[in-house]
């Protein structure tokens, strides 16, 4: 054992224990190399008598696969098939009629088998992505598409994972996944198959997004964000409004600084959130101050795509006073919040008296 001081030793062991404690991903727990060789097993037993039938079946599979590729132009080099792949017809995707205006090919139609990472591409600022996909499995556990990198067009998350459970036919998935724009940058798309035998087709397009690009990535804690309006918020505070809590990013639960609300002015709380966990996607904004008599926000962050909300009220029945807001969310929930008073949205809670 090397010589190491006790603090580093303790922290290193704690860190490695943390890694060890991570649960085994379900696709890996379900993975079984034996299940992908059934065809070979049959061939071994019946080789002498049914060779012709096997060859015929192979030709049929090849023909179906070839048909699946037809019309796709020159497909990009397919992700390298996994060593355990089982030949299956590659599902085709139909996208051209539904593409947003101005869409351009970012990653051409790519065919693959099993879990594979597509080549990294660079997305421009204010560009959204439109992923068209199909796969040969549509039962739980679902396949998923994972997008990571600085160019991920979802400002509140370092990555996005979509679970492919759009039911079109019982034995395959198919659909499209649109996003808003972001800051731009490198972007990596990964198809995560629940079994190595799953075949899939993915094409990625970029298109001009109406979302406002931001200039900086989210901070690592919850400092104020200086950029323009991020996704999920309706707008900057309206003219005449006084911003009490500037646009602030964070994740998990956090108590915001106490602010003082003026008398007779409606308070508006704009928030948005996105979750990186399918099981924890709730954001609640509350206050420990009894005088707050408005409605507090509590919404879903819709795993992978995010959601915005706006709520508000008055403090002290219009008398104003201190207000401390607390955001309650799971650590997997990233959020943004903006709080202001006054401005143009007075009608919802009545005019100042």
């Amino acid at each position: 054992m090397p010589d190491v001081d006790s603090r580093l030793d303790r922290e290193l062991r704690s860190f490695l224990d943390e890694i060890k404690a991570q649960p085994l991903p379900q696709p890996l727990a379900d993975f079984h190399p034996a299940t992908v060789r059934s065809g070979r097993k049959v061939l071994n037993v019946l080789a002498g008598t049914v060779a012709v039938a096997v060859i015929a079946a192979t030709v049929t599979v090849f023909a179906i696969e070839l048909n699946g590729h037809r019309g796709a132009g020159s497909p990009a080099p397919a992700a390298k098939a996994g060593p355990t792949s089982t030949p299956k017809p590659t599902p085709s995707i139909v996208t051209d009629s539904s593409l947003p205006p101005g869409a351009k090919v970012l990653i051409p139609k790519t065919y693959g088998t099993g879990t594979k990472t597509l080549p990294t591409v660079t997305l421009g600022p204010n560009e959204g992505i439109w992923i068209a996909y199909s796969c040969s499995s549509n039962v739980m556990p679902f396949n998923s598409i994972f997008v990571s990198g600085r160019g991920v067009p979802a400002f509140l998350a370092p990555n996005i994972q979509w679970w492919l459970h759009q039911f079109t036919t019982p034995d395959r998935c198919s659909g499209t996944l649109p996003t808003d724009g972001g800051q731009g940058g490198p972007l990596t798309v990964r198809f995560i198959a629940v079994r190595p035998s799953v075949t899939w087709t993915v094409a990625v397009y970029e298109f001009p997004s109406p979302a406002i690009a931001v200039s900086n990535p989210p901070p690592s804690s919850t400092p104020l964000f200086p950029g323009p309006t991020p996704p999920f918020l309706y707008a900057p505070a309206p003219r005449g409004a006084k911003v009490l809590v500037k646009i602030t990013y964070g994740w998990g639960s956090e108590t915001l600084p106490t602010v003082t609300v003026a008398p007779h002015l409606p308070l508006v709380i704009e928030s948005g959130c996105i979750s990186t966990s399918a099981s924890a996607d709730t954001l609640t904004i509350g206050s420990g101050d009894p005088p707050f008599d408005g409605s507090m926000g509590s919404g879903r962050c819709y795993y992978g795509t995010g959601e915005g909300d706006s709520t508000g009220g008055t403090v002290g029945s219009g008398a104003g006073g201190p207000l401390t807001l607390r955001v309650t969310a799971a650590p997997s929930v990233r959020w943004v919040i903006l709080v202001y008073e006054g401005g143009g949205s007075t009608s919802q809670w009545g005019p100042p008296t």
């Binding site: 090397p2 890694i19 085994l24 190399p33 034996a34 097993k41 370092p158 990555n159 490198p186 990186t276």
Partner: protein, 173 residues
């Protein structure tokens, strides 16, 4: 013919069962080991899948040995190292990017863990492997060297340099 097929099927079932019993218990360990080296869950899954596939292909001979766990560990560690090297040689950036992007995602980790993670990602792949094997799994230098395919002295060097980097990154230098 039917009888023959059934015999083969029963034999294969026994083979699969033997594989499951012997290798299945190692899957979680291999995953955490791969994750500690690659620091990327997707790549770690790939590494373990590849290890299991290789084990399955070699199962007829491997199952007759008494060092399956060590064999799996060696294959997994070397796959992690070569995979990473392969990706880097192709100018493949997502590993580093996903590392940077993914590190703050697990907010449940203490600040200490986050700091250590950030520092740990500065280590070379072999330094990570050497530290993970010796610290995380308690292998001796000789055992780690066998698993990594290098000399024990090289393992000690990787560990020493890795720890020095950690000290520096954590402000202990």
């Amino acid at each position: 013919m039917i009888s023959s097929a059934l015999q083969v099927s029963a034999s294969d079932a026994a083979r699969e069962q033997g594989f499951d019993v012997t290798v299945g218990s190692d899957t979680a360990r291999l995953f955490s080991l791969a994750l500690s080296i690659l620091r990327d869950e997707g790549e770690a899954q790939d590494a373990v899948q590849e290890t299991l596939v290789r084990a399955w292909r070699s199962w007829d001979s491997l199952s007759r040995t008494d060092h399956v766990g060590r064999w799996l560990t060696r294959v997994c560690v070397n796959y992690c190292i070569s995979r990473r090297r392969y990706l880097r040689s192709r100018g493949w950036p997502p590993l580093q990017m996903s590392e940077l992007a993914g590190s703050p995602g697990d907010a449940s980790s203490s600040a200490q863990i986050v700091d250590m993670d950030r520092a740990y990602r500065r280590l070379s792949l072999k330094q990570r492997a050497a530290i993970a094997l010796t610290y995380g799994y308690g292998y001796t230098d000789d055992e780690s060297a066998a698993l990594m395919g290098c000399r024990p002295g090289t393992v000690r060097t990787h560990v020493a340099r890795g720890l020095a980097t950690l000290r520096k990154e954590l402000g202990d230098a």
